[in-house]
């Protein structure tokens, strides 16, 4: 916690990333003939962002703070 990029700012960047990925999802759904693979990849990316930065998955294999 603390450090240079403040946690608030990381949260903001992640939120921006989620919005961007959502925009790409909609674009993929409208542009591609079979959007399922692209949607799956984008969905995994979004879930990964939330898991890692919002849910702190890394805490699981870190020592007690």
């Amino acid at each position: 916690m603390g450090g240079m990029p403040s946690p608030f700012r990381i949260g903001m960047w992640v939120f921006g990333g989620l919005l961007g990925l959502t925009a790409m999802e909609i674009a993929a759904a409208n542009a591609l003939p079979r959007p399922l693979p692209a949607l799956a990849v984008l969905g995994v990316a979004k879930a990964g962002l939330i898991l890692w930065f919002y849910m702190h998955l890394h805490q699981l294999w870190e020592e007690e703070e």
Binding site: M1, V14, A29, L36, G43
Partner: protein, 188 residues
């Protein structure tokens, strides 16, 4: 005896309940994985043209924003900023309620013409959104309890497991929608 038991409860390090919560979420995710698979097994990538795309996008953005505010609330309490914490938590609860209104009060009545007894897509659509909405609802209830405790000053840096757990659950509900939204509204 009871002192011993309480002492035991306090001595448990934070990673124990944290691990337990992750296991619970892992288990829960199997429910949604099954429903997601059922959607593709039964209906392939079929999607009715008359789904309200604007509404689907709107509730998706609402839920993503709520995850953002939930994250801010968690960081704020970790830094001891109680008022920022409460403000963001309240925003999260309100966004959650807005999401529920969007699904149950707006989307469902519009989708009634493909409601279960008539169409196969309705079966998966209503079950998936319903199951997810039930989890959003329970998340709103939990966050409200946390808000109530937070106003009484129950949390602060180093004693915020309640907040952390509730917020993790909320993010989990958001992740479910991350997969449900494209599966219900975007695939073809």
């Amino acid at each position: 005896m009871s002192a011993l038991r309480e002492g035991h409860a306090i001595a448990v390090p934070l990673r124990v309940p944290r691990f337990g919560l992750w296991l619970f979420l892992l288990s829960e995710s199997m429910i949604f994985a099954t429903l997601l698979s059922a959607r593709f097994i039964l209906q392939g990538t079929y999607r009715p043209a008359e789904l309200n795309q604007a509404l689907g996008l709107a509730i998706t953005l609402i839920l993503l924003t709520s995850s953002f505010t939930a994250n801010r609330a968690e960081i704020a309490i970790a830094h001891g900023k109680t008022s920022t914490f409460l403000r963001n938590l309240l925003a999260t609860i309100i966004l959650g309620i807005l999401f529920l209104i969007g699904v149950v009060a707006v989307e469902w009545p519009e989708a009634m013409h493909f409601a279960p007894p008539s169409s196969g897509y309705g079966t998966v659509f209503f079950t998936m959104t319903g199951m997810h909405a039930a989890h959003v609802f329970s998340g709103v209830v939990i966050l409200s309890l946390i808000y109530r405790l937070g106003r009484r000053g129950a949390f602060g840096p180093g004693r915020m497991w309640g907040v952390e757990g509730a917020v993790k659950y909320w993010h989990f509900v958001d992740i479910v929608w991350v997969f449900f939204y494209p599966a219900l509204y975007l695939v073809r």
